[in-house]
Subunit: 348 residues, 2 copies
């Protein structure tokens, strides 16, 4: 197994800068689209451990990646809380029973991960077997704040008026909701770790829409609870945890203080700046603008080289995009990205 | 005339912290919805100086605001460049002739502001007469980068893949487009100043989606050109200029170096932090989370008080939201906001 990904997170020596890409198992790959067609719809794909394994492996078979990431969705938890998750083509996720009253929060159950989310931990086991030690497997979750936005808005949102209204008007109930989510997420990640996940990541997609004060109180506080609540060691190995808040570039110091091992950076942050701010404390993952993949191979190589050059030192950087790869990217450009990271970092 | 708004931007003494609100003339007001109905559609409303004046005055008549802002749209310039702007209900702006080929950029004409955009400068004149010195009038424009995103994407976008593809692939053409836009904007703002605008503001709605390097090269560079290119004095008065990059909180030092008088802040930045970073150089406008207006009057007052307390000193702060007011806000909450800013800042 290539340990570069885990070693970079733990700041141990690496042979070269490891690279993986958010949404590397996704729509830009024709083989993914074929599997999804076979599954029928997106949720069925997530809920079939074998098909989830199939798509998880596709980018690993095609590119020289240093980590695999469990194929799943961040909304599995609210789904297990019986909010009635469904997807409509081109419109994103929706809930048939969103949280509309304060009483909904009080009556919300903490789902039993071992039964209601067994399809996720089963997928982890199947993928681990299929990977057979080739590269480490990353498990993941949405952050409590991010999950709560979908649960209260009833799906995606532009203004986040409902969830922020709740936050400003009834902070006590908001905390109750977030705390229930954090507890469930701890069970969920521990389940993934027990099933074989070598590392876990928390995606805080919407934390960047908060003020600093609200971010600390309603998002980071619960991610910190998760960092402290999950098993950071399993079968003698350290399980590193990475926090990624999109739009959180101003709050890296606060995120680093959570006790996480790595911070995911979006592309608006300068990697070199981020390193001088928090590089002593944590590893950094990121952070090429995903739109660079619309450029020529030559330009991609140039941008990869420039980004690698921003990072000082031999370990502590995991190369990634600053956000998920877009569905309309040509897979050949992805290959150029992955190969050039290795080419330019081997003899760095 | 209350000069607090202008004086705060120029860091001269003020009687109390001035306040205005982005999109204060907008859909949350029933009288605005009535005028818009009368106009037929949004573009007709923008293009009628009398109706634009009517909606500009509505919030001034209703609330104790310290500035009026010209009612218009940021896309008037691409419209004047013959890209065929139209609006479809609930879908946002679109262009029937977006920029799809590099040749489109070369052939793009610099519109004559005095004729093609006369409806805007006429609106400024009509509004100035109607205001009759009650409060200053703010003129505005979209930033070159922000306008270019709509022009290349053909409307709103989520991924900005086309415009960023152009930027990474053909930076030379991208610069050509941005330079043409900056030149036109200089004419446009000078036209507004000549017609009576007391201050101007540049809205860089999408600059925050760039990396720092790209922001400096493709957005800030052209806003700086505008700051240096417009008439900063008119009829013996200084015309202050404010730059607002949504999501630009990490780059305040760079923005301040443009030579602008004020920086607009979104709500993700801490006002106190921003002041300690750039407060010596520029005035600061902002930056309450617009979603606070979904809370009770009591909570709004509390948040206003806390925000005012973050700012040290007696001048240099213009109170505002960190983004436009949402259409579903109750106008009574807006009144609470405006009144509490004055109440808590008078004897600060």
């Amino acid at each position: 197994m290539s340990f570069d990904y885990i070693n970079a997170l733990l700041k141990k020596p690496v042979s070269r800068t490891p690279v993986w890409v958010m949404r590397q198992a996704g729509r830009y790959l024709p083989e993914y689209r074929a599997t999804r067609k076979k599954a029928g719809d997106f949720l069925s794909l997530c809920k079939s451990p074998d098909l989830a394994c199939e798509v998880t492996m596709q980018p690993i078979d095609r590119f020289d990646l240093d980590a695999a990431i469990l194929f799943s969705d961040i909304l599995t938890i609210p789904d297990a809380m019986d909010l009635g998750l469904y997807f409509t083509e081109g419109e994103g996720p929706k809930f048939s029973k969103p949280i509309t009253r304060l009483a909904d929060i009080e009556s919300l159950s903490r789902p039993d991960v071992g039964s209601k989310l067994a399809y996720v931990t089963d997928a982890v086991s199947v993928i681990k077997k299929s990977l057979n030690g080739r590269v480490p497997l990353i498990g993941f979750t949405g952050s409590p704040w991010t999950l709560s936005t979908y649960m209260v808005e009833g799906g995606s949102s532009k203004s986040f008026s409902k969830v922020k209204g709740l936050m400003y008007e009834n902070p006590k109930h908001m905390h109750q909701l977030l705390d229930k989510l954090a507890d469930t997420i701890i069970d969920y990640l521990n389940g993934q770790i027990a099933a074989g996940a070598d590392s876990v990541m928390v995606f805080d997609t919407w934390g960047g829409l908060l003020s600093k004060k609200s971010y600390e109180e309603f998002s980071l506080r619960y991610m910190t609870k998760i960092v402290n609540g999950i098993k950071r060691k399993h079968e003698g190995k350290i399980i590193p945890v990475t926090l990624f808040t999109k739009g959180g570039g101003m709050w890296l110091e606060q995120i680093a203080a959570s006790g996480c091992d790595g911070i995911g950076l979006d592309w608006t942050v300068e990697l070199g700046d981020a390193q001088s701010r928090v590089g002593e404390k944590v590893a950094l993952q990121g952070n090429l603008d995903p739109c660079v993949l619309y450029a020529t191979d030559e330009k991609i190589r140039e941008e990869v080289k420039a980004l690698l050059a921003q990072f000082n030192g031999d370990t502590g950087h995991i190369f990634n995009l600053g956000h998920g790869i877009s569905p309309d990217v040509n897979p050949e450009r992805m290959k150029t990205l992955v190969d050039s990271v290795h080419e330019f970092s081997t003899n760095k």
